[in-house]
């Protein structure tokens, strides 16, 4: 007797049903893993940036009074802190005063608040999902 080749309709239906459950699950799992890793990487980068920013701010704060309400110091070596359109926090100064340095990336805002400076780091996980964390730096005149 000649053996029938191929699959029956039931076998195909079972196979398709299992795929319909497994494929989206794997996709969701992979996306979740990816975003967890991105968030972990982001926390580590922020941890480095916090130390760098605090050192730079304290060094500059020792040089004189900050301009009223701003994030700049005048005098012989003018320095200012700027959040660029690319969301990088830059310390801008002349070459003799360290030049322009990128202190952090993914900075959404840097605002002057009583007693210091508040910095907001953001990570866009998806178009509609933004992870955000705020860090405060105490600043005082010398």
């Amino acid at each position: 007797m000649k053996r029938a080749r191929g699959f029956t309709a039931i076998e195909l239906a079972v196979c398709l049903s299992i795929s319909a459950v497994l494929v989206p699950s794997v996709f969701v799992f992979a996306r979740s893993l990816e975003s967890t890793q991105r968030v972990a990487q982001w926390h580590l980068e922020n941890a480095d940036a916090v130390q760098r920013i605090d050192e730079a701010l304290q060094r500059d704060a020792q040089r004189g009074a900050m301009e009223q309400g701003g994030l700049a110091w005048g005098g012989s070596c003018p320095v200012r802190y700027v959040v660029t359109e690319a969301l990088a926090l830059e310390r801008q100064a002349g070459e003799a005063c360290g030049g322009t340095q990128v202190l952090a990336t993914g900075v959404r805002a840097m605002t002057r608040v009583p007693g210091g400076v508040a910095l907001s780091f953001g990570l866009a996980l998806r178009e509609d999902l933004l992870q955000q964390t705020d860090v405060f730096f105490a600043l005082e005149a010398p």
Binding site: F29, S32, L33, T36, Q37, V39, A40, Q41, W42, H43, L44, N46, A47, D48, V50, Q51, D54, Q58, V113, P114, G115, G116, A118, T133, D134, V135, F136, F137, A138, E140
Partner: protein
């Protein structure tokens, strides 16, 4: 010869895949928590540096500033231990990884740390 897999073989394969996926997920979550703990450690560093500057200059800490510095450090507190001109500052806080986070900074009153 009979071809294909038995139901038990398939169940074992699916179970192994499930266990592997769960393990990967747990490791990934732990990595995220460890990274979060590292950020808190950096925040604690900023808090300790603030206390150190205040100890060096002999000025009291401002509660409002300390409140802002500890806003993202749950149950954070800073203890001072004085030994002559040497002040040891210890910051502790509740860490996302489980055991309490702890960071120490030694300050020499009158300059240096």
């Amino acid at each position: 010869m009979k071809r294909g897999y038995t139901l038990v073989e398939q169940m074992i394969t699916v179970a192994l895949l499930g266990i592997t996926a769960t393990a990967v997920d747990l490791i990934s979550l732990q990595t995220e928590r460890a990274a979060q703990a590292e950020l808190q450690r950096a925040r604690a560093g900023v808090l300790l540096e603030y206390h150190a500057r205040r100890v060096s200059t002999g000025r009291p800490v401002e509660p409002e500033v300390v409140g802002r510095l500890t806003a993202a450090l749950p149950e954070a507190k800073v203890e001072q231990a004085r030994d002559g001109k040497v002040v040891t500052l210890t910051a502790t806080w509740r860490s996302p990884t489980g055991p309490a986070g702890r960071r120490v900074l030694t300050v020499f009153q009158g300059g240096g740390r």
